[in-house]
């Protein structure tokens, strides 16, 4: 209601007439100047929508009021005229023209309100009875309704008349003055005008309130987005606690920001780690080569230095590949290659592969693997994760140490006995336990971060990426990696959900 005249302004476009589909996206501030910019705001649009709705409902209300006041009077007048007319027609039928003429005279004689109009004419339009001077010009004598201007003793008024043909070529006209009704109509119209003004004011105020509300609600989100894009990843959208749609939006945005922040933190950690952990072996290799170039006496010295540098480089490449693999796993791209895998034969194979190596080192590998353990996931990845755990166990176990590789299925198709107390429903737990130095409790949370190396690991070769990869694999599968005390030693538990593909992957965490 309030804004219609402005919206209707034709936008000043050039020679090409814009069709609707094209005009919408080009509704830009630059093209339409200040006014365009104003209407381009979503808040303004919402306000306008509110104003239009409010206007439309006010209009409907006004129409109903009109219909039930002024309209009612109109209908009542017309009903009275019709009843009168009907009565006169009956008189004609009862007693002929004479009776009709007498009745009309009587009705006029009894018209105290002095508002009646009667006219009976014959076929030649000559007046037979009634108080109107003649049949109105230009009004056909057949059945119809007309408004007539009449002169009532010098006072001009308006009359609503009904006229129709009667039998015998007669024409009858019956009417009532409606001047008072017209006046009432004016009063109602005036009242409605003021109501309309109030409606416009209320509508506009409401629209502005809606717009203000809209803006206020979006202001925080937009401020947060601006702050974040300016680099402040700690900003979050305020949650009002009404748990409404805006709160839902705010929470969604905050979750997204949390995830981005976590990823950014990961990237930062990795680049820091690369800076520290790759610099050292690169420096070592470089120095070795430089030293050989300047001070090698014999060809054998030179060969030895080159070979060691080559080994250093291989180590760097290994770290590099491990990092990329973790990144690849964390990106989740491989989830599409998931399928139902029986990890039991794979674990038996690995036990066999590592048994020999453990025996060679004087250690014992004890495997307890169920006949079947179905998991929804990526076979190669799980294999690599278990290999990393076994590598670690062998590296940190003392000679004569015992390494245990176990697996049990929990939930779903029956539990695997008392071992799995506290095992979540529908999971496969792969346990690698050793009796080495273990990881002190305060380090366990950090142990699966990239490049973390515990006190015990300082003196051993390794990149500090093994557990990080296991952790990444666990997360990708929607499982967890638990590091526990084996008293003594470390008990690493890789928990993988049995899954059915539908709820295959959620975020996991280190317990």
């Amino acid at each position: 209601m309030s804004g219609t005249p402005h919206v209707a302004d034709p936008p000043d476009v050039g020679e090409t007439p814009p069709d609707v589909g094209e005009a919408l996206p080009t509704w830009s501030p630059r093209r339409h100047g200040r006014l365009g910019a104003f209407f381009g705001q979503a808040g303004v649009r919402f306000g306008m929508i509110y104003a239009c709705l409010f206007g439309a409902s006010s209009l409907a209300l006004a129409a109903f009021l009109w219909w039930s006041t002024a309209g009612l009077l109109d209908r009542q007048t017309e009903a009275a005229i019709l009843v009168d007319f009907q009565g006169l027609t009956e008189r004609l039928a009862e007693g002929g023209v004479g009776n009709l003429i007498e009745t009309i005279e009587q009705r006029i004689a009894g018209n105290i309100d002095d508002d009646a109009v009667y006219l009976l004419v014959d076929a030649r339009m000559q007046r037979l009875a009634g108080n109107l001077e003649r049949w109105p010009r230009g009004v056909a004598p057949d059945f119809d309704w007309t408004n007539l201007r009449i002169d009532r003793g010098g006072i001009r008024t308006l009359a609503r008349v009904h006229h129709a043909d009667l039998e015998g070529g007669l024409h009858l006209l019956v009417g009532r003055d409606v001047e008072s009704r017209v006046q009432l109509r004016g009063i109602v119209a005036d009242a409605m005008l003021w109501a309309a003004v109030i409606a416009v004011l209320l509508g506009t105020v409401g629209a502005m309130a809606v717009r203000g509300l809209f803006r206020a609600t979006l202001a925080d989100i937009s401020a947060t987005a601006i702050a974040v894009s300016a680099g402040d990843l700690t900003r979050r959208v305020k949650v009002t606690g009404h748990s409404d749609e805006f709160d839902l939006l705010a929470e969604t945005i905050n979750d997204m920001l949390d995830r981005i922040a976590r990823l950014m933190e990961g990237v930062r950690q990795v680049s820091n780690a690369i800076a520290h952990d790759l610099r050292t072996p690169i420096t070592r290799a470089r120095m070795r080569l430089e030293d050989a170039a300047t001070s090698a006496r014999t060809e054998a010295d030179l060969h030895q230095a080159i070979e060691r540098a080559q080994a250093d480089l291989d180590g760097i490449v290994a770290v590099f590949q491990a990092l990329l693999r973790i990144a690849e796993i964390e990106a989740g791209a491989r989830r599409s290659a998931f399928s139902r895998v029986d990890v039991a034969p794979m674990l038996s194979d690995m036990a066999e592969l590592y048994e020999a190596a453990a025996e060679e080192a004087g250690q014992t590998l004890v495997a307890r693997i169920p006949p079947q353990a179905m998991v929804f996931g990526d076979r190669d990845m799980i294999q690599q994760a278990v290999a990393n755990l076994l590598d670690n166990a062998m590296k940190f176990s003392p000679p004569e140490g015992v390494i245990r590789l176990g697996a049990h299925v929990a939930g779903g198709s029956g539990s695997a006995g008392g071992v799995g107390a506290g095992v979540a429903a529908g999971t496969v737990e792969i346990v690698v336990a050793d009796d080495g130095p273990g990881i002190p409790p305060q380090d366990r949370a950090r142990a699966s971060q990239r490049f973390f190396r515990g006190e015990a690991a300082r003196s051993t070769p390794g990149s500090g990426l093994g557990l990080a990869l296991v952790q990444a694999v666990a997360m990708l599968h929607g499982g967890t990696l638990r590091l526990e005390d084996n008293a003594p030693g470390l008990r690493a538990v890789l928990v993988l959900p049995v899954g059915d593909g539908a709820n295959g992957a959620k975020t996991g965490e280190v317990a």
Partner: protein, 112 residues
């Protein structure tokens, strides 16, 4: 809201003004449907021909007749008839006629 408050206020005013004018015009039009409504042009209003001394006479005759027919007549109806006659005689035709009609209506009403 701040940068556009002036533009907004101006537009609000303009909208209100347009609306007021529109409604006024609409009301004026609907309040005077006049001749153009139906029935074509009507240059001069039609006269009601009952505002004459003849009609006065006609009405007094009817009133007298009714009075004679009734066994009892209320003083009010007599009063009205007499006043009507007097006004007609004085040339105040319309008030006279209305008095006479009221007298007739009283006389027509069934006896209490």
């Amino acid at each position: 809201m701040r940068p556009h408050s002036a533009a907004e206020a101006a537009m609000l005013l303009a909208a209100t003004a347009a609306l007021v004018l529109g409604v006024r015009a609409g009301a004026a039009q609907s309040a005077a449907p006049s001749a153009a409504d139906r029935g074509g042009p009507q240059s001069e209003p039609l006269r009601i021909i009952t505002y004459t001394r003849e009609h006065c006479g006609e009405l007094s005759r009817r009133a007298d007749e009714l009075m004679q027919r009734r066994p009892r007549v209320t003083p009010e109806s007599v009063e009205l008839r007499d006043e009507g006659k007097r006004l007609c005689a004085e040339g105040q035709i319309r008030p006279g006629i209305i008095r006479l009609r009221r007298a007739i209506m009283l006389l027509r009403a069934p006896a209490p």
